[in-house]
Every structure is written in C-alpha cells, then in structure tokens.
Symmetry: none
Subunit: 332 residues, 2 copies
C-alpha cells in the first residue's frame, strides 16, 4: 500500500526556483543563524551547510555565539565558526526572525540574500524570504526545500536537520506539532539519521551541574492562578558551578505541571540583566507580551531580556503576565 503524502510545508514553486537559482549561481556561500543558538539554529545551519558542501560549494557556517551543547556531537559541527574569515557571494540566514539576532557578523547596512525561517514574528529582512510559520522547525523547511531542489541529503546532514526538528518540538510534543513534521522526521531517518541517539544527545542527556540547576529552579517554584514561575540567581548558579547563562532547558518542563497556563523562568545574568523565558499552553499566546518587552518568539515559547535587579524584574514580569493571561482568558 502506498500513501500519498502532502508536502511537509507549502512553498511556492516560484520561491523554490528562485532560491535554487541563487544557490546554483554562487560558489562561496555564508550561512548564519541567531545568537544564543538552539538545536534548530545549529541543526539548520549544519544540515544546509553540509548539503551545499557536498554539492561542491565553499561554505562558511557562522554562529556568533558558537555551537550549542545539544548539537556539539553532530558530525561537522566543528566547521561552524564564530565569524566570517573569507569573502562570500551569497548569504543565507536561517531560523532568525530578524537580522539583528544573528549578532554583529555582517557589515552594517548589509542586506542578506535569503532568509529561511518559521517564526511568525519574522521581519522579512532579506532580498528573498522563505518564511513558513506553520513549520515546526526551520530544519523542516530546509529539508523540504533541499528535496524539491533535488540536492542529496547525507546521513550527517539528515542528523543535523532531524536534531533541529527534535529540539524545537521538544521530542515531537509541542502544541504546533503536525503530521508533516512526523513524515519529515521519518524521511530523515530513512536518509540515515539515528533518531534515538540524537534524541538522547540533544534532549535527555544532562550534566550533573544541569541536574542541580534544575534542583534550584524547581525548589524556587511558585504558582498563582495558572501561572507558574521560578527564578535562578547568579549566586545560585555559581554555587552549583553551572557554567552556562541558560536554564539547562528547565523551562520546557514547567508547562507539563498540572493546571499550568503559562510558565516563566527568570534567570539573572552577569551584566545586570535578567533573561526571561515564557512557555504557554495552547490558547495562551505570549509572543505579543514578549514583543512588547523588547523580546520575541512564538505563540507558546518566547523570551526577552530586561535590565534591573532580579526581584524587581520578577515582580514586573509576573504582574504583566498575569494581566496578559486574564485578557487572553477573556478572549477564549
């Protein structure tokens, strides 16, 4: 029995052809993604980069903040560099909703050639913009694009692309999951990606220090009317010896707690700032709230960075989020 499978994401033929032509006409290609990179940023850069290298291109893969831990095991991740070191003819930005988010790696005033992204907040900042906001990850769009353009995808590239999908969907469980993402994951396995292995490396493996950071975060947990939140101070992070500036992915576990509508982690940063991460259940869109505070993200996963002492930012954010939940509840 053969089934007809709809394409993973709807991309116009015109756009596919245009991007295909831009790529085929360039020999030196630079690919960029956002600062504080996640698995989809690195997986999308690496998957696309490896395929273009295998097609004979000179490729520079740039992450201003370097390779994140969830993708450091991927073959080829050592090719990702923090800055450009040679000229290029074509620039591709992946998984970044605006140009500023890639860091100061391009000259001021430069306009990127191609922008491939799935964030609904994308600003269409490049000459050619392929934005599909119903795609679960940018790597799903890239997989679809490469298949339509007829580029062979090696097992190493497939592993990088599947890592992007697995991390952005938290292991196929985010509210935006759709059948196409699962078909794409199956296709990437068929191309040689080892799903159980990369799932472990990207999502379930955890350092001792990360486990203790979870301990602090979960011990500091508070809740009020469907809002659940926690704080981690710089002192707490240093006492544990956790070296990252992140929450060791604790934020993604908080919405699984019964009765939660919105979850927040407030993470004190070394520079007098506080990093705020929101996660919300279906029906609660927190992207506008993050945007209004100078941040960004998706309906159900967003972030922002605010200046100020941790306790003041906490009060301000909890109050703003509670108002936001109430206004949303009224809409439901």
């Amino acid at each position: 029995m053969a089934l007809n499978v709809e394409p993973a994401v709807a991309i116009s033929n015109e756009l596919v052809n245009q991007i295909g032509q831009m790529i085929s006409q360039a020999q030196n290609i630079a690919i960029f993604s956002h600062i504080r990179p996640d698995g989809d940023a690195a997986g999308s850069i690496l998957g696309l980069g490896l395929v273009l290298e295998e097609a004979g291109k000179q490729v520079q893969m740039i992450l201003a903040d370097g390779v994140p831990g969830s993708t450091r095991h991927l073959v080829g991740s050592n090719k990702i560099q923090k800055e450009l070191n040679q000229p290029f003819e074509l620039s591709i930005v992946v998984d970044s909703s605006d140009q500023e988010r890639i860091g100061a790696v391009l000259p001021e005033g430069y306009t990127p050639d191609i922008n491939i992204d799935h964030h609904p907040t994308n600003l269409y900042f490049a000459r050619t913009n392929l934005v599909v906001d119903q795609a679960v990850s940018t790597s799903v769009i890239i997989t679809q694009l490469l298949q339509e353009l007829g580029y062979p995808i090696s097992p190493e590239a497939a592993s990088a692309l599947l890592t992007g999908l697995v991390t952005d969907s938290l292991g196929f469980r985010t509210p935006n999951m759709n059948p196409q993402a699962l078909h794409t994951a199956a296709n990437l396995m068929e191309m040689g990606a080892d799903l159980p292995q990369l799932y472990y490396e990207a999502l379930t493996r955890r350092s001792y220090e990360a486990a203790r950071l979870w301990g602090v975060g979960l011990s500091n947990l508070q809740r009020k009317n469907g809002l659940i939140w926690t704080t981690i101070s710089l002192a707490e992070r240093r006492a544990i010896g956790y070296s990252g500036d992140d929450d060791a992915d604790l934020v993604n576990t908080l919405p699984t707690i019964s009765g939660v509508k919105v979850a927040i982690i407030l993470l004190e940063q070394p520079n007098g700032h506080v990093k705020i991460s929101w996660r919300s259940k279906l029906g609660y869109d927190i992207s506008n709230l993050a945007l209004s505070l100078g941040g960004g993200g998706h309906k159900n996963a967003a972030g922002a960075m605010l200046e100020g002492p941790l306790d003041e930012v906490e009060k301000r954010i909890i109050s703003a989020t509670q108002e936001h939940i109430q206004s949303q509840s009224a809409d439901l």
Copy 2:
C-alpha cells in the same frame, strides 16, 4: 510533491484477508490484553474495539487489571471492563506474548482466535497469529491492519492507537524506533488524534507538588566516582505537601546524567524506615546488592527498605554501593 511511503509493517495479504474474514463473520467480539496493562495494551484494545463498534459489532474490551492511568483520559476507556459479561463469537488478544498474561478471564483450555502482538517472545498461542516484532507497538500493527481492511478509524480510535505508540516508544525515543512508526503516527494525527495532548496526558503531566519534590531531590544531589545519589527526608516531603510515599518517578531521570554508572534515591518513610531505589546503566548489575540487603529487583532497577535514621542508612548504602561498583568495574 507526493512521496511513496512503504507500509508501516509487512503483513502478508493472506493473513490480512484471513483476519478480515474472521472479523466480518462475527457479530460479538471480545478483545483482551495483558495484566498490569501499559499504554499500548489499553490503547490497542480501545483503538481496535472502537473501530469494530463503529462498524456495527458488539464488542467487549477486557483488561483484567482495569484501565491504566496513562489512558484513563481517552474517550471510550470507560467501556473497558475487568471481565466478560456476555457470550462472544470471536476472541482477539492484543499486545500479549502469551495467553497466561491476560489473566484468568477466559475458560481453561480455551484457545483464542486471533493474536496480534509485537513482542519477540510471542508464543503464537492463537488459531491465527499476527506477530510483527519490528513494530514499535502493537497499536502500529493494528493501525496497519485496519487500514488494509478498509475500516474507517475515528479520531477517538486514532487517539487510542497513537497513545499505544507514544507510550511504548517513550515519546519516539526507544532504540527500536523506525521511520514506519513515525509515518503511522503522522497518519493517526491526520485521522484526528491530538498528539501533543495525548503525549502530555500519557507521558509528561506532573503535579506541582511532584515538581517541587524533584526540586528537593535534585538540590540534594551528590556524586562520587560514577555514583550519583540523593536523599529526601520526611520533613522535606511534608513541607512541600507531597502526599505519596514515592519519589514521583525522579529516580528514572537520574541515569540520564552524564557519567552516571549507578543512581540511588534514599527516601525517608514515616515508620522509621528508609526506602532505597537503585538504577544502573548497562553493565552494572545492582540486583544482587539489593537482594543482599533484603530487597530485590532487576539488573538495572532494584529497591530495598532499611531501618534506621536517614543519615546512617545513607552512609551505609553509599559505601556498600561504591564497593559493589568497584567489584563490577573489575569484571567489565
């Protein structure tokens, strides 16, 4: 672009036709699965049962031990009963490697008509046996069978079948995962199953108190030479308001920490005892150690109960387990 997708599992046409005929000739059908049921046992019974009901059959769905928590939210799960209450013409056993495992729900000496399973240890105990051991769950085989027989699968039945797949694969991450399981999951979503919702209900939902108990356990974490352990005192559990005498399944997360050979949780009990749970990675057998302390279990998951104050039991257990690891390391 349309892709050709291979069938989820290889089932001979002859077997499909035979089972199809047996079902179409019967009006009263009884479906059984194993005792201590998991999500695949209940999901497979319910998925198959609902489809046959919708096709106009009288169906009895039997689980000797009742419906497990991971599937209690599924529409129709209240139809599952602990014993037969009327005659039937056709019996189908799902997800059970032998007949004994379904419990004492059938007369002695009775041979079931159809056996549908994915366990490699299956004994082919029925008149007609559909056993596909490369299938990730029995519900994948049932989905494939129903599709080949042309039975429509309702959203409720698809939800039950997808729950079987999600639970048996721990959310698509067990070593036996394959592309066909992902294509099947996609098909079940297309039929109306809400993957994020049923994933949450079956695998990730956790109470606020359980999350805070994890906080205590992870904050108290210690390690030494591949051994990682934590304690939770009665006072800590009461301060949180966690009502169970268990560790809220924290122990199963500890072996995912990098470098862990053996993980232990020591849980102070109300009666002056301490409950000890060990988990070990492949190559470290802790069942003998637990046995020598009056407990028991498997190679990689064991437990015991000791009398004494928490801190004394902790010292004794950590020392005994360290010696045990060293003797095992010598064997490796």
